[in-house]
């Protein structure tokens, strides 16, 4: 095994069938041929062919939703491919479950730490592979061994400490040490520096280079161009689930990579009509709250205001703050010229703000309840006469939205969980159409939605604008906000860092502002 610290004895049985020693340096260790993943009609990863060479650091870049996480999940056996072949050291393999991936030496360090916060650092490093003596855990031996590994890696971390007492960045280092310790031959880092300080990043980079020196193949996924250029030998670009190219790092530059990450398919399904812009509906001045700072912007009737940024840039937090879900700390909100305070969701709704939130599953829908109930949820007070709900109006309202939005269901009594992503999004939208609003906030409305439904959603935007509403469109998909928004604001690290008019600035400019190269 090539791992740095092969203190584990785990893969003894399973490993017998697996090539013990990987291929020589520079030869293909993992080869993907036409690897594809479909969720129903949605193609999350279009047939991709990619080769990873033994001992290289291979960066993967792409916008949110480009298919990076799908690729990682396929490689680590979390999900199963729809079609295509995978070759490990020249042998075809299934990678049908995480155990198989780990047994072959494929490991991943995730952006969000997936360890047990209540256990000690050492216990986490040995989790599932504890040293024992006739069934009794050798706690002291494990702590000592873990400490030796940490020291050797140059991480100044106490092995006996509880994991949750460390910062997220330190926990990330523990996760890396854990993977390094386990005879890993192929290690995937998914945006590992997102929560790390500069110093911690430097430690991590040293570790990555050291692993590379030991012959471990590294896949490094990041938004940060400077890291890609600092670390990687080669870089592959994903766009809309397509692998659009692989370059040697010495033969490319950021401009080329950013150009590869961008495309223009959106024009084919959306035709923007210019509508007269009306009066200002909403204005914020210096709005500050959890996750966003000093945001000043306005929305007028008949326009789409786009908010672009990477995930975690503060756009959704701003939306939740505006909607009264999270308390705003300072700043002012003006609604149709009058200063207002929005302290809870009801107040926002009563003013005329609707929010189709980021996560349909967690925030948008009551999944194990019928479609009809979901659609009617914001308007039950209007459907009530006396003490009871007017059944006729309840049914009519749900059926009308189902019909108007072409939600594909035989009846309103089907549970929302049974619907596809696109139809679920329509249910969330239907809820707000029946309620009505002056300002619609759509947070990532087309994630996991097929092209046909996307086009329908865009047409719906046009209809709302014609009726004199304003729209805030939050999207991590640049072509979408770029083509749809009359004004586009770029968020980075909780701040509004740049603004453009309709199609102002190039894709390259906008992406560069969002990434902050």
């Amino acid at each position: 095994m090539t791992g740095l610290y092969d203190v584990s004895h785990r893969h003894e049985e399973g490993a017998a069938t697996v090539a013990r020693h990987p291929v020589p340096k520079g030869q293909p260790i993992l080869e993907l041929r036409g690897l594809q993943k479909k969720y129903g009609a949605v193609e999350a990863l279009k047939p991709a062919s990619l080769t990873f060479l033994c001992g290289e650091i291979h960066a993967i870049v792409g916008e949110n939703g480009a298919g990076k996480s799908t690729l990682i999940k396929l490689l680590t056996g979390v999900i199963r491919r729809t079609s295509g072949e995978v070759f490990w050291c020249g042998q075809p393999v299934q990678l049908s479950n995480p155990t198989e991936a780990i047994a072959r030496g494929i490991n991943a360090v995730h952006q969000e730490v997936v360890l047990c916060p209540h256990l000690s650092v050492a216990a986490n490093m040995f989790l599932g592979d504890e040293m024992n003596n006739k069934g009794l855990m050798r706690k002291r031996a494990m702590t000592a061994a873990a400490q030796a590994v940490l020291n050797d890696l140059g991480f100044n971390l106490p092995a006996a400490a509880t994991l949750s007492s460390l910062t997220i960045g330190q926990q990330q280092l523990v996760a890396t040490a854990r993977a390094a310790m386990r005879g890993t031959q192929f290690l995937i880092f998914d945006e590992p520096t997102a929560y790390l300080t500069r110093q911690e990043s430097a430690q991590l980079f040293r570790l990555i280079r050291r692993l590379q020196g030991e012959g471990v193949t590294i896949v490094y996924i990041s938004h940060r161009m400077e890291e890609v250029f600092e670390l990687a030998d080669r870089v592959s670009v994903l766009r809309d689930g397509t692998h659009v190219g692989t370059r040697k790092i010495s033969e490319t530059n950021d401009a080329e990579l950013i150009a590869l990450m961008i495309n223009r398919t959106i024009e084919q399904i959306y035709h923007k009509e210019t509508l007269p812009i009306g009066a200002t509906i909403l204005e914020t001045r210096g709005l500050t709250g959890p996750g966003f700072e000093d945001v000043s912007l306005s929305v007028r009737a008949g326009e789409i205001v786009g908010l672009y940024g990477l995930i975690g840039a503060g756009r959704s937090e701003f939306a939740l703050g505006l909607y009264g879900r999270q308390p705003v700390r300072s700043g002012e909100i003006y609604w149709q010229g009058k200063q207002v305070e929005i302290r809870n969701e009801r107040q926002a709704m009563n003013l005329g703000i609707a929010l189709a939130p980021e996560s349909r599953r967690d925030q948008g829908l009551c999944l194990n309840l019928p479609i009809g109930l979901n659609i009617n949820l914001p308007v039950f007070d209007r459907l009530t006469s006396g003490f009871t709900i007017n059944r006729r109006r309840e049914i009519d309202n749900a059926d009308r939205q189902i019909r108007d939005l072409k939600i594909k269901t035989p009846t309103r009594r089907v549970l929302a969980s049974a619907m596809s992503g696109g139809n679920q999004q329509k249910i969330v939208i239907g809820k707000w159409l029946s309620h009505g609003a002056k300002l619609f906030i759509f947070d990532e409305p087309t994630v996991g939605v097929d092209v046909g439904t996307k086009a329908e959603i865009y047409r719906l935007f046009a209809r709302l604008l014609e009726q004199g509403a304003g729209i805030i469109l939050i999207s991590s998909y640049l072509p979408e906000v770029y083509e749809l928004a009359d004004r586009l604001h770029v968020f980075r690290q909780g701040k509004l860092v740049a603004s453009h008019g309709y199609r102002g600035g190039s894709h390259e400019d906008v992406l560069t502002q969002a990434i902050g190269v």
Partner: protein, 324 residues
């Protein structure tokens, strides 16, 4: 996991299944009655039927209140203790010379307060429902024992104690109380928007909140209803046994939860009805009653009840999985 496939396989109207499940339970109840009618001479006697209806009535009312809470994905472990405490409260008030109507209203208000306290603990203090209601379970028994100094308070008000023995149209008045509770409960849960909100909060409280549902208020409503139902049962119990005693109704919370679950309520929230727990309560009462008539050791009754819960909920799970 193909999205398309689930879209086509899914369309099973939920209401139809609920009615079917209700019928299955009703079928089970009638089946038990038939079998007991054949197996014993005394089952179908007016005396025994009245007795059965009285036995089931109190659990049924508790189960309906409990169901409101379980639908919000919560649990109320305190109801048995509230019953005992309410019996002490009404007995103490009557002994102190408070007029009957006022004593009853005050007792019900105590139920409201206990429920509000539970919701306060959950909403404001962030305590799990299991913990806060477990805490009141033991505290209320303690307070009741302190008030009575560990003994019982006799109730001398005849109008009050006669009520539980009385019949109306040949049906025990205690059973009428089930109807008095069940009809408004049905209207509330199935016909009013409040009921919809209970389901929405139990399914996904964040989605409900973002849709303008006042989640906190909904939780208050659920727990207040549960405790008030329990206080009401406390009045009925005091009337039936003629005393106030803090240790009465031991373990009734489990009876109530069992009835609710047998009646199709999901402990994960967002699934439940009013008719289900009523049937569940009378199924349990029938089993106990039948076991008594058949001279089955009362220890066995507990074992049978436990086994029944497992069997019914297991079949319910199968049904749900089948419909997905």
């Amino acid at each position: 996991m193909t999205v398309e496939a689930t879209t086509e396989a899914a369309p099973v109207p939920k209401r139809g299944m609920n009615i079917l499940f209700g019928l299955t339970l009703l079928g089970l109840l009638l089946f038990l009655w038939l079998v007991l009618g054949f197996a014993t001479n005394s089952f179908w006697t007016p005396n025994n039927i009245s007795n059965l209806l009285r036995q089931g009535a109190m659990t049924a009312i508790l189960a309906v209140g409990q169901t409101f809470v379980i639908i919000t994905a919560g649990i109320d472990l305190s109801v048995g203790a509230v019953v005992g405490f309410a019996s002490v409260a009404v007995a103490w008030l009557l002994a102190a010379g408070v007029p009957l109507w006022l004593a009853m209203i005050i007792t019900l208000l105590i139920g409201v307060l206990i429920g509000a306290f539970h919701a306060f603990g959950i909403v404001r203090m962030g305590l799990p429902a299991f913990i806060i209601t477990l805490a009141t379970l033991t505290s209320l028994r303690g307070i009741g024992l302190l008030i009575t100094n560990g003994s019982t308070i006799s109730i001398t008000n005849e109008a009050f104690t006669n009520f539980s023995r009385a019949d109306f149209l040949g049906v025990p008045s205690l059973f009428w109380m089930v109807i008095v509770v069940a009809i408004p409960a049905y209207v509330f849960l199935h016909l009013s928007r409040w009921g919809r909100y209970l389901f929405a909060v139990g399914s996904n409280s964040e989605a409900a909140r973002l849709s303008g549902v006042n989640v906190n208020r909904t939780i208050y409503v659920a727990y207040i209803l549960s405790s008030t139902c329990a206080a009401f049962v406390g009045l009925l119990l005091a009337s039936r046994i003629g005393i106030g005693n803090a240790t009465q109704a031991e373990g009734w919370e489990l009876q109530a939860i069992a009835s609710s679950v047998i009646g199709g309520t999901s402990l994960f929230g967002a699934v439940g009805s009013v008719q289900g727990p009523l049937l569940g309560a009378f199924i349990l009462a029938t089993i106990n009653n039948g076991a008594n008539l058949l001279n089955v050791n009362s220890f066995w009754q507990r074992i049978i009840t436990g086994a029944l819960i497992i069997v019914i909920v297991y079949f319910d799970q199968l049904r749900r999985r089948g419909s997905r």
